[in-house]
């Protein structure tokens, strides 16, 4: 009989927003404490424990303390490198934790006739055989996957931990991430402890076994947060096993339940958006909650920057919300969309626009339309764009402009 926690995609250090970053770390601490409470024999982390190879250490100190506490209580933490933990330079916090004995890295292998034979880590408490395959950025690990082979004994409980997207498994391809074919995955395991896909997946695969992706423990991206806001869940698994799996249970993380407000800006002006946003925020019960405000569409006029983020943040803060983050990346303005830049030459742009306005002009005077009109416009612009010199008197400057204007419009010839 044995029991373990399967945690994945913790992404410690993710988020710039201190509130979210802290909630993420809190979630990890919560998961470790929960595992302790549930008397697990060991914990598997299927990659991406950290968001970057070297995160800001003070921020994750508490999380590491908690890991050491767990290990000191004789609960092993098994893990593999996820794509975010790994650094080509070799320097990563993950490698330090392995060296410090806080994490037991699962990847053991040897080469044999061009094949890579994975060796198990045998859990001394439960006798479970745990195999691990690390990940690289951009699924660079797939080349190794192709060559791996495993020769496990048949009468033990076998776990294969990995951090890769398997083709056809995920419904939500948010990152359009590279995948590896299922044929690369070793068959006949009892439990496949997956990571990398930010989506909870639990399925029985013929010839393989129980395939489980817990999804992120908390969230590492705003897309994750939006999913939670839309009713999705995050958390980790606790698995009971003997010869095979006895029970698997998803433990939901309820540390955060963000609120998502979406505003369609199509055909509206910034002031309308502000009014709508404020009234919708006012209507919400935001005590201690985190707000995701997503404004998208095309403004009929004005600048997108006129949607005053600072003001909205102020309002949300006054309602004792835990925080707010605003998405205006899909917000555009017709006023600027209307500016067609076909030409990147300043002089040509001037000509083109004068041409456009001259075509619309109803005047009949031939000097003021067509090529002659354009020439006058350009000459006038070149005359008038020059500022008064400091050593030039106002009347002198005025006379200079008037005389030159007279020449441009050909005043002498009228008389």
């Amino acid at each position: 009989m044995g029991r373990f926690s399967h945690i994945s995609d913790v992404h410690l250090g993710a988020f710039n927003d201190p509130y979210l970053r802290k909630r993420n770390i809190d979630s990890f601490i919560w998961a470790l404490e929960k595992s302790l409470e549930e008397n697990v024999d060991f914990i598997i982390i299927s990659g991406d424990l950290f968001n970057t190879p070297i995160p800001d250490v003070p921020q994750i100190t508490n999380a590491i303390k908690k890991m050491r506490e767990i290990v000191e209580r004789d609960i092993r933490i098994y893990a593999i490198y996820g794509s975010h933990d790994y650094s080509v330079t070799g320097s990563s916090i993950y490698s330090i934790l392995v060296a410090a004995g806080i994490i037991s890295d699962l990847h053991r292998s040897r080469e044999d006739n061009g094949k890579i034979v994975l060796e198990p880590v045998v859990d001394d408490k439960t006798g479970a055989y745990i195999y691990g395959m690390y990940a690289r950025k951009g699924a660079m690990e797939s080349e190794i996957f192709e060559k791996i082979t495993i020769n496990p004994p048949s009468d033990v409980f076998k776990i294969f931990a990995f951090h890769s997207a398997i083709s056809g498994i995920s419904k939500d391809m948010q990152f359009n991430m590279p995948e590896i074919p299922i044929s690369y995955i070793p068959k006949n395991m009892d439990y496949y402890a997956g990571g990398h896909i930010h989506e909870r997946i639990e399925m029985d695969l013929p010839e393989y076994g129980k395939m489980v992706y817990p999804g992120p423990l908390f969230a590492s991206t705003f897309v994750d947060l939006e999913k939670i806001a839309k009713g999705g869940s995050c958390g980790f698994y606790i698995v009971d096993f003997s010869k095979g799996i006895n029970k698997i249970e998803f433990i939901e993380n309820e540390i955060i339940r963000p609120e998502l407000v979406e505003i369609n800006a199509n055909g509206k002006i910034p002031e309308e958006i502000m009014r709508e946003a404020i009234s919708r925020i006012e209507a919400l019960q935001l005590d201690g909650r985190y707000l995701l405000l997503k404004i998208w569409g095309e403004l009929s006029s004005g600048r997108t920057s006129e949607v005053d983020r600072k003001k909205l943040i102020e309002i949300v803060k006054k309602k004792n919300a835990a925080g707010i983050n605003i998405n205006v990346s899909q917000l555009t303005s017709r006023e600027f969309k209307g500016i067609e830049i076909t030409n990147r030459n300043q002089g040509n742009i001037e000509l083109e626009i004068f041409e456009k306005f001259l075509k619309q002009y109803g005047g009949k005077n031939e000097s003021l339309i067509g090529e002659r009109g354009k020439n006058i416009a350009i000459s006038l612009l070149n005359l008038l764009r020059i500022e008064k010199n400091d050593n030039e008197s106002g009347p002198d400057f005025k006379n200079k402009i008037i005389n030159a204007t007279g020449k441009i419009i050909g005043e002498e010839e009228w008389k």
Partner: protein, 818 residues
């Protein structure tokens, strides 16, 4: 622009210092406050002066003067700029600026210098004495503080700065200046439309004038009718007068003819008398001529053509003789030539010189016989070499001898004292007796050898003297040889000349013979000439006789014709007498016609007076009419002038409307478009740099409409305060580089190769610092000057200049050895 060196004297924390800048990445490394930024400030000061900066912030405290010398390279030309500061009465001001271009220096005032440098740098921006260069500030060097100011400014202020840097201000300046044009057009419109007022009133006045002209025309018509009638009557009278005049003219012509005829008759009568007398005289002269002519009959025996033939024959002979004589005369010239040549040749034969040569040769021969020396066996060089070798040997022998001498004296001392003088130890004298003997023997042999060598040396010396004597002997032999040759040549030459003389003598005699023939010919010629003269005289006489005969014939014919004329004159006298009788009746008719003519003329004068009166009336009326027409014309001109004013007013209005409806809205649109285009360029550049510096696919960055940098994660805006240090630095550096590149594009057409970065990596992670060289490569700058306090940066640089501050004074360390 490439900076080559900066020299500081009493600038802020520097007492003095020179920094040489190579191309490539140069890092100015030093602790915060060490004086790195002062170098950048000095570069900017050297280029553009103080601007709005207070001079006392640059000049070192307690110093009265200081300067910066900047050396830079632009398009392969080297410029050196020296800007100085001086403190006077507590105020720090700029001194004159010296600019050296490729070694040629010139002085400028600070303002002139700035304008000149802007021109060199090709910076097209307004010359504001209170500011430095916007282009430099944003395209090349943006101080860290300035960068923070831009990033932390509120959107409106930031946009203002950016607009200025991107020259977007141009359009608002143009819009502002358009007000002058609009006001002007409006003013002109108002002026001309004011001038155009009152056309209708003038039209009324013209109508009145037209009426008056009509009345005058009517009066003129009436007067003209009377005038025309009078004209007809006067014309009829004129016709009558004319007719009488014609008749009177005819009569007076007849009277005139009568007078003429009377005169003719008188003349004819006297002619008749004269002719009679002339005939008489001619007949007398003829008779006299005949008498003389009869005497010369004898001359008729000669014939003129025969004489002519004979004369031709003689002329031919004379010509032939003359030719012959001319031919012979030409020999006279040849004779003169030959005689001259002969004389010259005689002069050239110089026997004295030959004699002198002969005696010289004789003397030399006897001199040489006296010397007679054999040719030496060895050359001088060989002997020199041998002499040197012997001298070398002598030197070595002397040295050996000296050595042996010292040994001998040593051994003698041992024999005397029993102590070695070299090592001061005791020595047994008996051991040295044989040694001393040996050494003495050795010395004898060397001395003998030396003697031999000296002897040999003397021999060589003699041989060398022999060589120089022989050289004199050989030289004399050479001279003798030359003289003998010359003598031989001269003798040969004399023989040739004497032969030539003989030849000339023969030629001279031959010509003299020919010249004697000439006198014979000349006698012959004289004979011919006298015969010719005789024949000519006879011929003249024949001609004279023939002339007289002709004259007699002529006189006869003349007398005959005069007699015929006499008859004709008589007949004409008779006819004129008859005509005179007919013409005498017209003298009475003339009186009658005269009284008739006077009566008609009186009548006509009366009528003329009447016509003149009416005519004057008409002229007065026409004058009045013309005045009215002129008045009307001036009124019409007034109308035309007013119409023109109205047209001009309309023109100005059209231009005014065009500015309001086309020009200004277009400017607004251009401004928006250009701003958006620049923002797009800025954004593209910003995103590119940010992507290079931040390795997180969920994080993106962009520039919004207000040029605010925005970092987003999954589309959610990440507030600046929450960004990590590395991310914030990435934003700052990306923004700065984008600003630099867009301003370069806008103002310098991308033509700049210098970039100055002030603490660009402040807050970077070590991984970001690793990426920094790639970023620098992408800036495509030949020279990047980086100011940093981070020692890591110098690993990425081509060259590092360290700045240190001790006791308030900055020092430049390891500059120049690149």
């Amino acid at each position: 622009m490439i900076i080559r060196s900066v020299e500081l004297k009493n600038i802020r924390s520097y007492r003095e210092g020179i920094i040489e800048f190579p191309r490539g990445r140069v890092v100015l490394l030093g602790d915060i406050g060490a004086g790195k930024s002062t170098i950048l400030m000095s570069i900017e000061f050297a280029l553009f002066g103080l601007g709005d900066q207070d001079g006392s912030s640059l000049l070192r405290v307690n110093e009265n003067s200081g300067h910066v010398i900047l050396e830079m390279e632009i398009d392969n030309r080297i410029y050196k700029i020296k800007r100085a500061l001086k403190r006077k009465n507590g105020r720090v001001t700029q001194d004159k600026v010296i600019i050296e271009e490729n070694g040629r220096a010139e002085s400028f005032t600070p303002t002139e210098a700035k304008a000149y440098i802007m021109k060199i740098l090709n910076y097209n921006e307004p010359l504001n004495p209170r500011a430095r260069s916007t282009i430099f500030r944003y395209a090349i060097y943006t101080p860290q503080e300035e960068m923070k100011k831009i990033l932390n400014a509120n959107p409106e202020e930031r946009k203002k700065t950016i607009r200025k840097a991107f020259r977007i201000e141009d359009y608002s300046i143009a819009r502002e200046n358009s007000k002058i044009v609009i006001d002007y057009l409006k003013e002109k419109h108002d002026y001309y439309s004011g001038k155009g007022v009152g056309i209708e009133e003038i039209k009324g006045e013209i109508e009145q004038i037209d009426k008056e002209i009509y009345e005058i025309d009517k009066e003129i018509g009436n007067e003209l009718e009377i005038f025309n009638k009078l004209n007809i009557e006067i014309n009829e009278l004129n016709v009558k007068i004319e007719r009488i005049n014609e008749e009177m003219k005819e009569i007076s012509e007849k009277i005139g003819r009568l007078t003429l005829r009377k005169k003719d008759l008188d003349e004819l009568n006297s002619q008749y008398e004269d002719l009679n007398k002339e005939i008489e005289k001619a007949e007398k002269d003829l008779k006299k001529l005949y008498e003389g002519h009869e005497k010369n009959l004898i001359i008729r025996e000669y014939r003129k053509d025969e004489i002519d033939n004979e004369l031709n024959e003689i002329d031919k002979k004379i010509r032939e003789l003359n030719e012959k004589r001319g031919e012979l005369k030409s020999y006279e010239g040849s004779l003169r030539e030959i005689r001259k040549n002969k004389e010259e040749l005689k002069k050239k034969i110089d026997i004295n010189y030959i004699k002198k040569l002969e005696s010289e040769v004789e003397n030399l021969r006897s001199e040489i016989l006296k010397i007679s020396i054999n040719k030496p066996e060895k050359s001088k060089e060989e002997l020199d070499r041998m002499e040197k070798e012997i001298e070398k040997e002598i030197r070595s022998m002397i040295k050996k001898s000296e050595n042996i001498n010292s040994k001998i004296s040593d051994y003698e001392a041992i024999l005397k004292n029993g102590i070695c003088p070299t090592c001061d130890r005791e020595a047994k004298p008996e051991d040295f007796i044989s040694r001393l003997e040996n050494k003495r023997m050795e010395k004898l042999s060397i001395d003998k050898k030396l003697e031999e060598l000296e002897k040999r040396k003397d021999e060589i010396k003699k041989e060398k003297e022999n060589i120089s004597n022989y050289e004199i002997y050989a030289a004399k032999l050479d001279i003798l040889q030359a003289k003998e040759n010359e003598l031989k040549e001269k003798r040969q030459d004399m023989v040739e000349k004497e032969e030539k003389l003989k030849e000339y003598q023969g030629m001279e005699e031959e010509i003299e013979e020919k010249l004697r023939e000439i006198s014979l010919i000349e006698n012959n010629l004289r004979l011919m000439e006298s015969k010719k003269e005789e024949l000519r005289k006879i011929r003249l006489k024949i001609e004279e006789y023939e002339k007289e005969e002709n004259k007699i014939e002529l006189m006869k014919r003349e007398i005959e014709s005069k007699k015929k004329e006499l008859e004709k004159t008589f007949a004409r006298i008779e006819s004129i007498k008859k005509e005179i009788m007919d013409l005498e009746q017209y003298e009475n008719m003339m009186e009658k016609k005269k009284s008739e003519h006077d009566e008609l003329k009186d009548n006509k004068e009366k009528m003329d007076k009447e016509r003149e009166r009416i005519n004057n009336n008409i002229i007065t009326l026409n004058t009045r009419k013309n005045e009215k027409i002129k008045l009307k014309e001036s009124k019409l001109n007034e109308i035309r002038e007013k119409e023109r004013s109205l047209r001009l007013a309309q023109r100005y209005m059209e231009y005014y409307n065009w500015i309001i409806e086309v020009f200004l809205p277009a400017l607004e649109s251009i401004e928006k478009t250009i701003l958006e285009m620049r923002r797009m360029e800025f954004n593209e550049s910003f995103q590119r740099w940010f992507y290079m510096l931040v390795d997180d696919p969920t994080k993106t960055a962009r520039i919004d409409e207000d040029f605010t940098p925005i970092v987003e994660q999954d589309g959610y805006v990440q507030e600046m305060e929450y960004l990590s240090g590395g991310e914030r630095s990435a934003v700052a550096l990306s923004y700065r580089l984008s600003l630099n590149s867009v301003v370069r594009e806008v103002s310098l057409n991308d033509g700049e190769n210098l970039l100055i970065l002030d603490e660009p990596t402040d807050g970077f992670s070590s991984e970001q610092i690793q990426r920094f060289p790639e970023i620098l490569n992408q800036t495509r700058s030949d020279q990047v000057i980086i100011v940093s306090h981070e020692a890591d940066i110098s690993r990425l640089a081509d060259y590092t200049i360290r700045i240190r501050k001790d006791n308030g004074v900055s020092y430049i360390i390891n500059s120049g050895n690149f």
